[in-house]
Symmetry: C2
Subunit: 299 residues, 2 copies
């Protein structure tokens, strides 16, 4: 039996959140449907953040309402604080995506508070969430920070260790927010984390510096079996204008196809979803596979 | 002391050969000079093939004449047969780049002869070349063939073994001609080849399917220390129109920088060379790093 990888589609959230003009709710829902049709069964559909800070995510509740009707789809919403937690619980999200940064300066820039403040708030949410609530704890800038540069691996492991201690089984995502992680670094951090705290870690990567697929490969080889990606490779980085965004779902799926790993994805439908994502006005598409004619013909 | 990698610039040959309109000899020479200025000391400056088959390479002799004057630059020219061998020897190339394909159908399409015919011709060149002649034997389609699909690893190893037997030390390049090699495959083939026949293997990769940097990483981790790349990622594949070409030198150099591996390259001058390559009329540039504003500022 071939190995299997679990893929989480993040185009509706990470792929869209940096777009200036408001993407109509129907477009967001169409994107959710298209990626679901392609076979993806896990998705970040939005985030319950301040609509003043991220106006693009103001309709997450409406998108979630539709997404929840898709059979077998696990809907994650991002939650930066208690207010978001309450909104997510009220809206009936399947999974909470808590998040904070490994580095102080990025946490302040992104969340307007210190890491200690974020950690205290998120730790309380983990403690107080009703039994059975699925949670993922996302750690931004685990490898590289737009302000502090390369993150020392021990610093990252120290933060991971504190998050691990909150819950014996909670999923933790190690995120390469800038796309400037290197594959040797990703491999070492995942190997260490898996050895010390078990196989509960997911990888969230960007492709800005061209190392996205190399980093996915490194995390896979180090035992990671849960990956985020965005169809169409959409998701510009606000700190690097013109750069591409999330690692493209179609590139990740092709990689795993070629390595003989089961993804559960219908290739032709995934390309259609990727084309749809790339066509959203304001989106900054990336990735290689949409441009390969031979791959269009693959079943 | 940090590890070191040897990089061979192939933009003047692989990057330009598929361009329809003739690239003026001065432009080719400017590209050779720019990549040399960036610190690259090994280069495929052209090929001695039939100018009817590849008119773009008709001026290789002139380009080589200038390139040979650059101190410390090792100039390789590609040689598909005896006629090319004689031309290359007469022109005083520093290294002969013999080439044939691992797959029969690609060898016929690319060289208009069977693998046995190519092998016999190239084996005679290896035998008869004056003592001290530097030779590299390039094996196209070692991993994937546009006609035959994924190449069974044993088939590749069988061909490699025959080439190995020609000379105890000759450098042999394993080429991913289509860009559809997968990193697990690259790793296995290099590990096997290094274990069986020593560390004499180079990697030549394309980035068409987005796995270029992942494959370079895999080959590096398997012990490969010689890599081909093209500044600007130029080099469209005639079998996949619109697809990007050779793995971009600037992406490869950034990868090694981040992994702490010495390349000998001046980053700012390399970006200038990459911009020049990308600006050649008819070129199909690729790669990520030219588009990353933050990387422009790196020293």
């Amino acid at each position: 039996m071939s190995e299997r990888v679990e893929l989480s589609e993040v185009a509706p959230r990470d792929g869209l959140q940096s777009i200036g003009p408001f993407v109509p709710t129907e477009t967001k829902i169409a994107l959710v449907r298209a990626t679901y049709e392609a076979g993806l069964r896990r998705m970040e559909v939005g985030s319950f953040v301040s609509p003043r800070a991220v106006p693009q995510m103001a309709d997450t509740g409406e998108v979630l309402k539709v997404a929840k009707q898709l059979a077998g789809l696990e809907c994650t919403v991002l939650v930066p604080n208690r207010k978001g937690f309450e909104a997510a619980m009220n809206a009936g999200a399947d999974r909470l995506g808590l998040f904070m940064s490994v580095t102080e300066s990025h946490n302040k820039a992104n969340l307007n508070r210190t890491r200690e403040e974020s950690f205290a708030d998120l730790a309380a949410i983990v403690r107080e969430a009703p039994k059975g609530t699925k949670i993922r704890f996302n750690l931004s800038c685990t490898f590289h920070c737009p302000f502090e540069g390369v993150v020392p691996e021990q610093d990252a492991l120290d933060v991971i260790e504190r998050v691990v201690a909150l819950d014996p089984e909670m999923e933790i995502a190690l995120a390469d927010t800038t796309g400037n992680a290197s594959p040797d670094q990703v491999r070492r951090v995942f190997e260490h984390a898996h050895a010390a705290w078990g196989k509960r870690f997911a990888y969230h990567g960007h492709d800005t510096y061209g190392m996205g697929i190399a980093n996915v490969t490194a995390a896979w080889e180090a035992g990671c079996r849960i990956f985020d990606a965005a169809s169409g490779g959409i998701g510009g980085c606000p700190f690097a204008p013109g750069a591409t965004g999330n690692v493209a779902m179609e590139d990740v799926v092709w990689l795993f196809r070629r390595m003989g790993v089961e993804t559960g994805v219908d290739w032709a439908k995934l390309l259609a979803a990727a084309d749809l994502a790339a066509s959203v006005p304001g989106a900054t598409p990336g990735g290689a596979m949409r441009r390969v004619p031979a791959a269009r013909l693959a079943a």
